[in-house]
């Protein structure tokens, strides 16, 4: 829509007034800066996969693998001994395992939000971060799944969680939110993988075709014969690897039409999941009749917290990647601003929920409920409450200031604080209510054991390992969709709006 046609719809008084006021034209920042062309985008993203892994990648990969081994040790220890090696004891039978599960599941939510809701809302800025965020979602679900899986005790019976017909004539307890969790999380994982993979098919086709082109040309540069033949061999691997994964993508018009439709359908399918998964996770607590858990505010409060922590994690991952791969033209200040603003918005909802819980504890006039909250803030776990409150409520408020949002290092540190805070939120919710419940004679204090610590610490390694492998073998950003939001792709071109309006 051009400026001229808009003007003609309004009365002359309005036009006169507008010319008097001279409203400021707010430049919308381009989503790909520095006037990069399409070819540059393709090269930039493909080269990450096609060139040799940088040294930092190998260092990170080694560290990540070593860290991941801690989870392996923790789990072997657990399975060979029994759940008793975790710090769980009456009355606190939900410790770190549930805390870590909710923590990791929450992190995943940013990916689904970016890929589904922002897609339906036509937010162009999602394109350069959605692939990595979806990968993050899937890897976070993998990490999250470990904890409830091993928490069942005899992990080899974990398949009993699924309603399979059996000779025992028994079914899982369908009235339990823990069983709903099984369905919610497995659906979430499945849809996320489908969405992620389907979105990647055109890019896998590009990687395949580039390898084939190089093989056809047959010229490989390199200091030695060995290096040349290694590069050649890598391209043969790529030809088949991406060839299989691309599922015969030929970049044809009908392919793109089907792709767009499938993408839209999956976006529609995942949109309710953004809200439902963490709602059901919150039911694990809210359905129990325990002061501090049994509240109706839990579903929205948990969903907001999940998106908050998810965007925190996206920032934690994308800011270093942007610096290491030199992606400043693709992940621009506008992207960072938007992510910070979502953190600010969801963080404020979380802060509101914290305060509202206290209000209701007082207003509800239930002595057990009010005790639960006074105990949270001033009881034996008050240290955890303070960490949670300061990280989650105060940190995001700094994002009101554009100077803060422009300081990448500061944003990165704050994004980590957000996730520290969100972990402590789950810890506070899970542990304080259990440790001091109705019966003072059974009150206890929960401490994790070394096995708890190993298992949780290692999941960061597992997550990083998977993410580094993703960086190495799969396209980091959706090449086609980035091109779609570039100024060059604007069908109106640059000439019609004479610089008065930008898209």
């Amino acid at each position: 829509m051009s400026t001229d046609s808009t003007d003609s719809q309004f009365s002359p008084e309005r036009s006169a007034l507008l010319s008097k006021v001279e409203p400021a034209v707010l430049e919308e920042q381009a989503l790909v800066t520095n006037n990069r062309d399409f070819n540059w985008v393709t090269n930039k993203i493909c080269k990450i996969v096609e060139t040799n892994a940088p040294n930092w990648w190998w260092v990170c990969f080694a560290v990540a693998l070593a860290t991941a081994s801690f989870t392996l040790v923790g789990l072997i220890w657990l399975v060979s001994t029994g759940v008793g090696v975790w710090g769980l004891a009456n009355p606190i039978n939900w410790g770190w395992a549930i805390v870590n599960f909710v923590f990791w599941i929450g992190i995943g939510h940013a990916g689904t939000l970016i890929s589904a809701i922002l897609c339906l809302l036509k937010q162009g800025w999602r394109t350069s971060i959605n692939r990595a965020a979806e990968a993050m979602t899937i890897f976070a679900v993998v990490c999250a799944g470990i904890f409830p899986l091993f928490h069942v005790g005899r992990v080899w019976f974990a398949w009993w969680l699924f309603p399979l017909p059996n000779a025992n004539l028994i079914w899982p307890q369908f009235r339990s939110p823990l069983e709903w969790d099984v369905f919610a999380v497995s659906t979430y994982g499945t849809v996320s993988v489908l969405f992620w993979y389907m979105g990647m098919i055109p890019d896998l086709g590009i990687l395949r075709d580039r390898a084939v082109q190089r093989l056809t040309k047959g010229v490989y540069e390199g200091s030695s014969k060995l290096r040349q033949s290694m590069a050649h061999g890598a391209d043969i691997f790529r030809k088949y690897f991406y060839g299989v994964l691309a599922m015969g993508w030929r970049n044809a018009g009908n392919h793109w039409r089907n792709y767009e439709m499938a993408y839209l359908l999956l976006a529609g399918l995942s949109t309710p999941l953004v809200l439902s998964v963490h709602t059901i996770v919150s039911f694990d607590f809210a359905v129990a009749v325990l002061p501090g858990w049994h509240t109706t505010i839990f579903p929205p409060y948990f969903v907001a917290g999940a998106i908050f922590s998810g965007f925190g994690m996206v920032l934690t991952l994308m800011l270093p990647l942007r610096a290491l791969y030199g992606l400043h033209d693709l992940i621009t200040q506008r992207h960072i601003d938007n992510m910070c603003k979502i953190c600010l918005g969801t963080g404020s909802i979380v802060g509101y929920a914290y305060i509202m819980e206290f209000f209701i504890a007082w207003y509800g006039a239930n002595p057990y409920e009010s005790f639960a909250f006074i105990n949270r803030a001033f009881g034996q776990y008050s240290w955890a409450y303070y960490i949670m409150f300061s990280c989650n409520v105060f940190t995001p408020q700094l994002f009101w200031f554009s100077a803060v949002r422009k300081n990448a290092a500061l944003v990165w540190i704050m994004s980590i604080l957000i996730n520290v805070g969100m972990w402590f939120e789950r810890f506070v919710i899970t542990v304080t209510s259990l440790a001091n419940d109705f019966l003072p004679s059974s009150w206890g204090y929960y401490s994790p054991t070394i096995v708890d610590v190993f298992t949780f610490f290692g999941t960061f390694g597992l997550f990083s390992t998977l993410f580094l492998l993703f960086l190495r073998f799969l396209p980091l950003m959706p090449i086609g969709e980035i091109k779609f939001v570039m100024p060059q792709a604007d069908p109106h071109g640059h000439e019609s709006d004479n610089g008065k309006e930008s898209h």
């Binding site: 059996n166 000779a167 025992n168 004539l169 028994i170 395949r208 075709d209 084939v212 082109q213 056809t216 030809k239 088949y240 060839g243």
Partner: protein, 217 residues
Amino acid sequence: MANIFPKWVNSIPVKVIIALVLIKTAVVVGVTYYFSPEYTRVGYAPTQPVAFSHEFHSGTLEIDCRYCHTFVDRSGHSNVPGTNVCMSCHSMVLKDDDRLAAVRQSYESGEPIPWVRIHKVPDYVYFNHAVHVNRGIGCVECHGQVNEMEVVHHAKQLSMGFCLECHRNPEDYIRPIDEVYNLDWERPSDSQSIEEIEGFVHDWGVNPPQSCSGCHR
């Protein structure tokens, strides 16, 4: 650009899907058939050290179950008789028969005959014989028509589903107390008798546990 894959590759996805469907069906059918207690337990008939015939003793001679399994209505455990019980008749009947040599030897030495156990619930299951037979659950419900078995075999599944089926619908299995040890008893078909029998569940306060801890104590 030349094709990467030859043309026959096009049919691979369909073939993979068909293969997966077939494999999955085979696994489901196979597990359902071969992994069920119906297959793994029913029909188990080990050779016993003495060829004792339940068909003859219980069927033809109509000896009451409790003549040998003396404590079944007084104890959680249904005992296998010692050879002194055998000798209560066989000291006079067939007293020199070769087939009873092992019984006489056991009676003299005091060493029990090593019968091979057929019916066994797992260690983590609590089962009480007395409470079942005293509340109208006949022997035949779990052990089958032992009075017709020359060699005793495992007649019923004794799976958890088998137990639960009765615990959930006791009125379909309960019988008059007098008929508990009558393995040939048949449920009457007229509605008045059925109503009367189903009333036992209420009259005797039969309330079979369905919670986990009812049996897994």
